[in-house]
């Protein structure tokens, strides 16, 4: 058996290989369901039935897709330029912190409050990510480690705030901040938790980023830096500066996702684990599936949203730990990157 490089991979090869990889991933996770003592078919049926065939389920998928859409669109660009931002969790939290700070302490006219929260959130997330980009650009420090470490720091920061200076007056034994005012909450589709302004923002931003990537000078620079750093140097494109832009964009979008979660759903700053609930990590798969095309996130975010909502269902109906979502993420990502070789090569059996 040997590999033979394909000079011009057929157009739909990527699609087939990706679908194949996902298929393998679902079989492997099925094996783990079995190891846990659950009939895999039964589990998958429960996940699908409760999400796609149920009105409430649809809303859950949609709600879960919103942060994935925002973070995923940004990460798509980041991965394309080889900036492995694993810190979207922390950037989401910082976005929530800045927005909560504006909501709780900045006396603004009601009409300006929400826009200010969104701006502050984007800024908070962007700056948090910029730390890692700066360290990488100036001191050549691996961004995977720094963004990840900053996640832990962000968690501590949120706990410190809601357990200390920002602790709500009605919180008593719990830890969370005061509730935001009515005008500081994002509108939702009636009867649901789907905060549609953020959803709309996510869709728009994914399309805008696609346009930036394929039609602007900045996008051209990003593509060159990602695909051929040597050529970028030759063209006088500064990889460091492009890295800063990427950090601002991905961090900013993750920050916006944080604002969406607190202003759209929780209406206060809450405990970090519940607030970010793994969106930053799940969005990595959203971005990887989109293969460097921000617009494709519109398809891949709902897919992972479905898995998150399905994980919720398994937790409630079968008392399964929510960790199953991490298993899905890990296995899917391994299968996806492992299948990459089949996009560019063909297997020849025999000698």
């Amino acid at each position: 058996m040997r590999l033979e490089p394909l000079v011009n991979p057929p157009r739909f090869r990527v699609l087939w290989v990706t679908l194949g990889a996902l298929g393998v991933a679902f079989v492997l996770v099925g094996g783990l369901f079995a190891a846990y003592g659950l009939n895999p078919l039964e589990a998958y049926r429960a996940m699908l039935q409760g999400t796609l065939l149920d009105a409430k389920g649809w809303q859950e998928v949609l709600r879960r897709s919103i942060p994935l859409l925002l973070i995923g669109a940004g990460l798509t660009l980041a991965f394309r330029t080889q900036f492995f931002n694993i810190g979207a969790e922390g950037q989401l939290l910082l976005g929530a912190v800045w927005a909560a700070g504006v909501a709780l302490f900045l006396p603004l006219p009601p009409a300006l409050s929400l826009p200010a929260m969104l701006l502050a959130g984007a800024l908070g997330g962007a700056l948090w990510c910029l730390v890692a980009a700066w360290l990488r650009g100036r001191l050549n420090v691996n961004e995977i480690l720094t963004t990840l470490m900053l996640n832990y720091v962000a968690q501590s920061l949120v706990i410190f705030l809601i357990n200390g200076p920002w602790k709500g007056r009605d919180a008593r034994g719990y830890i969370y901040s005061d509730r935001f005012a009515e005008y500081q909450q994002l509108a939702v589709l009636p009867g649901t938790n789907v905060h549609w302004p953020t959803l709309l923002l996510g869709v728009l931003l994914a399309l805008v980023l696609q346009w930036v990537l394929s039609r602007t000078t900045l996008g051209f620079r990003m593509r060159v830096v990602g695909e051929n750093p040597g050529a970028a140097r030759y063209l006088g494109i500064s990889g460091v500066r492009v890295g800063f832009w990427i950090a601002l964009i991905t961090g900013g979008l993750a920050g916006l996702a944080g604002v969406g979660e607190i202003a759209g759903i929780h209406h206060r700053l809450i405990e970090p684990g519940q607030l970010s609930s793994g969106y930053g990590f799940t969005a990595i798969i959203v971005a990887w599936l989109a293969r460097g095309h921000p617009a494709l996130v519109l398809l891949t975010a709902p897919l992972m949203g479905l898995i998150l909502a399905g994980g919720d269902l398994l937790k409630v109906s079968l008392n399964m730990p929510f960790r199953i979502v991490d298993v899905f993420s890990g296995v899917m990502l391994l299968c996806l990157i492992g299948s990459e070789i089949l996009v560019q090569n063909r297997i020849r059996w025999g000698r």
């Binding site: 050549n140 420090v141 470490m149 706990i159 410190f160 357990n163 399964m320 990502l333 070789i341």
Partner: protein
Amino acid sequence: MEEVLNALARALSFGTPLLMACLGALLNERAGVVNLGVEGMMALGALAGFAVAFGSGVGDGSLWLAVLAAMLVGALAALVHAFVTITLQANQFVAGLSLTMLGLGAAGLLGKRFEGQPLFNQPPEWPFTLGAIALALLLGFILYGTRLGLTLRSVGENPAAADLLGLDVVGVRYAAVAAGGALAGLAGAYLSLVYRPSWTDGMTAGLGWIAVALVIFVGWSPLRAIFGAVFFGLLYYLQFRLQGQSAIPSEVFASLPYLLVILVLALSGLRGQQGNAPEALGKPYRRGER
């Protein structure tokens, strides 16, 4: 004086899992493969060790069986990484990250039934600490004093040349990654069997990531890893010691190790430490390609 000795003893105890995991990561990085899955492999090792010890009663003989199981599971998880990155030539960073997700997820899922179960006899810490230090010395000797070490380093520095000399690049890398996983599993077992004989989801608490960062900090040297691990061990000790005793909020201490990792990486960057990295680190090897 007593205070200082006590602090040092605790630092060694905290530093032991860090040293074990760090040596493992160092070993496979010396062969040219980055494995960011340490945290996940540690979690799996911790669970495997606990499950075996719990299942086989509380006899003394079962401890070593449990440790062995943890190392085996760590090595198996690492082989997944090896297959994906060496055979399928996928991105090592992303593969390691997904291994962490998978490891934490699978351990949390399968370990649920052990949550809150106590393990009755707590083995002493010192054999493990001494073992880890001995391992560091041994690894240093192997790397610089033996033919095996030379092989390992050549595969990490210049796989094409090693291949030309007839060395089995793929085989050496597989072996190094598996050994690294076994050490990460051992670190996990230390946590769930020795340090705090119990199982809780998320008990690795970022230690695996700190171990990965430590490899860069100590410039890929096993001997310096001892001091690096003790240093971070001391930090963990201070974090617990000073909590609630001062006006500084405990969250500051909780985030201290992570902030320090960033600082340490920045300092390593400032000193150009990255230059010590094995030349072919993170790059898949494909025969006939430059």
